[in-house]
């Protein structure tokens, strides 16, 4: 079982890292999701792997138990990563709708173009700015 869990974490992480490095919004979101799956399994395994054991101590008999804390940590991590993925999707959508492309890289900044004039075409902005200043 150890080899299965370990390779699952490894493959998920590798795929996640690869997708994040694609630098397009949708693959990056999928990559972040895969990374969070990987880390959830990893957190779960950090309390040692056990099958069929209850996560509670039994004071009447000497029976084994599995560590309940990693399960609580994993639950917290799942909730947070779920919320964060939702936020990321919304921001990526907003960024795509504003700029009509889904690249994650920031385009090289041209100091003579004012970013706030979104409604103007770049060329117009440039001429207006340079004309105004000189």
């Amino acid at each position: 079982m150890e080899i299965l869990v370990a390779s699952a974490i490894g493959i998920l992480t590798a795929a996640g890292v690869y997708l994040v490095l694609r630098l397009r919004a949708f693959p990056v979101i999928l990559g972040i999701a895969l990374l969070s799956y990987a880390v959830n399994v990893f957190l779960f395994a950090s309390g040692r792997l056990a099958t069929g054991l209850p996560p509670i101590l039994n004071k009447y008999a000497e029976v084994g138990y599995t560590d309940p804390l990693p399960q609580a940590l994993t639950l917290t991590a799942i909730v947070i990563s779920f919320g964060m993925t939702a936020v990321l999707v919304m921001i990526a959508l907003g960024s795509y709708l504003e700029s009509a492309e889904d690249g994650v890289n920031i385009d090289i900044h041209r100091p003579d173009v004012d970013d706030d004039d979104d409604d103007k075409v770049d060329g117009e902005t440039v001429s207006a700015k340079t004309g105004g200043a000189r």
Binding site: V39, L43, R48, L73, G83, M84, L88, I91, E98, I106
Partner: protein, 512 residues
């Protein structure tokens, strides 16, 4: 158990939803609530500061569970100092935002602002590494909202990068915590400290891995090379007052490093030894250089200030990397200074950029309204940031240089910090002259007057910037009492007995 310790977390957590739901359509009501909450927080922060000033370590046990099993908040001198710093900065930023109407440019500014404060206060007060992760997420998710406040194409694109960078960082944080829990069986900061001091060196490989993974995570927050690239895009495109508030966010990373690598993985821990400091040193060195080169190469005011922040974080981390009580004093003094210097510059940048016809592009145009006043403020803040006498930046850098002299590669640190300071001075001098000086010789025809551009800044809008610059002066004038307090703070960090004593009678080998 003193219940006021949790008040800085609870109060914003109650005010924020109230603002978001009840006062969402009434900006004056939201402003009043947000302001009242922030003033109250400042009062509480002062109270906590006084409470911890006698050197005692206060523990707040949530649900009254005993520390290794329950979650605790811990208030010591360092936590109280950071909470007070945040509260002061928050008040300055909030006054600026209200006076300049930034909060009208988007929705829910005040709710997000309060959530942001909740996350920052929580991160400074928590005594549990997993809780630190949770509060990091709280402050990050609020910072996403604040960073995107006002919208616009460039801001959204930069915001997307910022969110992705931090989500990757959070994942790394969880990997580090998982490794730490697997090896020590605990996530309480004090308990980790006790356990790793018992682990034999030959079995400590995983502890070292966890310690360095955590270092990378905090380095992302503190913007240390090679993970500092997110900062310029974020700060330069965020609303300027939000960037001023973010001046404390990089300090959260610095605080976490200072806390974890003294209490948990201190220099006396055999498992990690001096390894964290050794790696941090070279990272900080490159960061300082990168900041200085960025300052001199920037063509926009906001980018220039962002690089100045990176440079100051590098200098701060150089001091921390020495890992001695003296270096912690230098680091904390420089931390106080650089927070107010960065805040002053970003707040001033907001006042100036909104009045320039060229925006924040560093090119001489026509003089702006109140040119002389802004020049004086910029001069003061830039002197502070660049580290020239007589303001606190000079004293801070002097302390940092003094403390790194015991390190093996101190000559490198001196060379980089001094040359970096020179480049920063040149960069700021050039900026000042193209923003304020050259325009006074403007000979072209006057462009048509513009109501919004030519409106002079009122007293309320100017007050926060002036106060931030004044704080630099106060830090200089009261350098001795401040450094005496910081010496006591550093002593508490490097003799962690009182902090470690919050764990009653540790039982090695239990849990895990």
């Amino acid at each position: 158990m003193n219940h006021w310790i949790i008040a800085p977390v609870i109060l914003p957590a109650l005010i924020a939803p109230l603002i978001a739901w009840v006062m969402r359509f009434d900006i004056s009501l939201a402003r009043a609530a947000s302001m009242a909450g922030t003033i109250l927080l400042l009062g509480i922060a002062i109270g906590l500061f006084v409470l911890s000033a006698d050197g005692s370590v206060h523990v707040y046990k949530l649900g009254n569970w005993e520390p290794p099993f329950g979650i605790v908040l811990v208030l010591d001198r360092l936590s109280a100092l950071m909470v007070l710093l945040t509260a002061v900065l928050a008040l300055l930023v909030l006054i600026h935002v209200i006076a300049t109407d930034w909060d009208r440019k988007g929705r829910h500014f005040h709710a997000l602002f309060q959530f942001q404060l909740m996350g920052i206060f929580g991160a400074f007060l928590t005594g549990d590494a997993f809780n630190l992760f949770v509060f990091f997420e709280v402050l990050l998710i609020a910072s996403y909202g604040l960073m995107l406040h006002g919208g616009g194409r460039a801001r959204l694109k930069a915001g997307l990068q910022y969110v992705i960078m931090n989500l990757a960082g959070s994942t790394l944080f969880l990997f580090a915590l998982g490794t730490l829990y697997a090896t020590t069986g605990t996530l309480n900061i004090a308990d980790i400290g006790l356990r790793v001091r018992e682990i034999p060196v030959e079995d400590a490989a995983l502890v070292r891995v966890a310690a360095m993974l955590l270092m990378v995570v905090f380095a992302i927050k503190a913007a240390i090379f090679p993970v500092q690239f997110w900062l310029t895009g974020t700060y330069a495109n965020a609303p300027a007052p939000v960037a001023a508030l973010f001046a404390i966010m990089t300090k959260v990373g610095a605080y976490s490093i200072l806390r974890m690598y003294t209490i948990s993985f201190g220099p006396d821990v055999e498992a990690t030894g001096t390894m964290p400091g050794d790696w941090l040193f070279w990272g900080a060195l490159v960061t300082t250089a990168a900041g200085a080169i960025g300052v001199i190469g920037s063509r926009r005011l906001m980018t220039l200030l962002s690089f100045a922040v990176i440079g100051s974080m590098g200098t701060l981390m150089l001091a921390i990397s020495a890992m001695t009580p003296d270096s912690a004093v230098a680091a904390l003094y420089y931390l106080l200074h650089s927070t107010f210097a960065a805040a002053a510059l970003f707040l001033l940048a907001d006042l100036v950029v909104t009045r320039r016809r060229e925006g924040d592009v560093l090119r001489a145009g026509m003089p702006i309204v109140q040119n002389g006043l802004f020049t004086a403020l910029f001069f003061g803040a830039a002197i502070g940031m660049a580290g020239m006498p007589p303001l606190s930046g000079f004293l801070g850098k002097l302390l940092v240089l003094e403390t790194v002299r015991d390190m093996p590669y101190w000559a490198w640190a001196w060379a980089v910090v001094l040359i970096g300071s020179l480049l920063t001075i040149i960069g700021f001098a050039r900026t000042g002259s193209s923003l304020f000086w050259k325009p006074s010789a403007y000979a072209g025809e006057a462009p048509e007057p513009d109501e919004t551009l030519d409106r002079p800044a009122g007293a309320l809008a100017l007050a926060p910037t002036m106060a931030a610059v004044a704080m630099l002066g106060l830090l200089t004038v009261f350098a001795h009492p401040v450094s005496t307090y910081l010496e006591a703070t550093a002593a508490q960090l490097f003799q962690p007995d009182a902090y470690l004593a919050i764990i009653p009678a540790p039982e090695p080998g239990k849990g895990g």
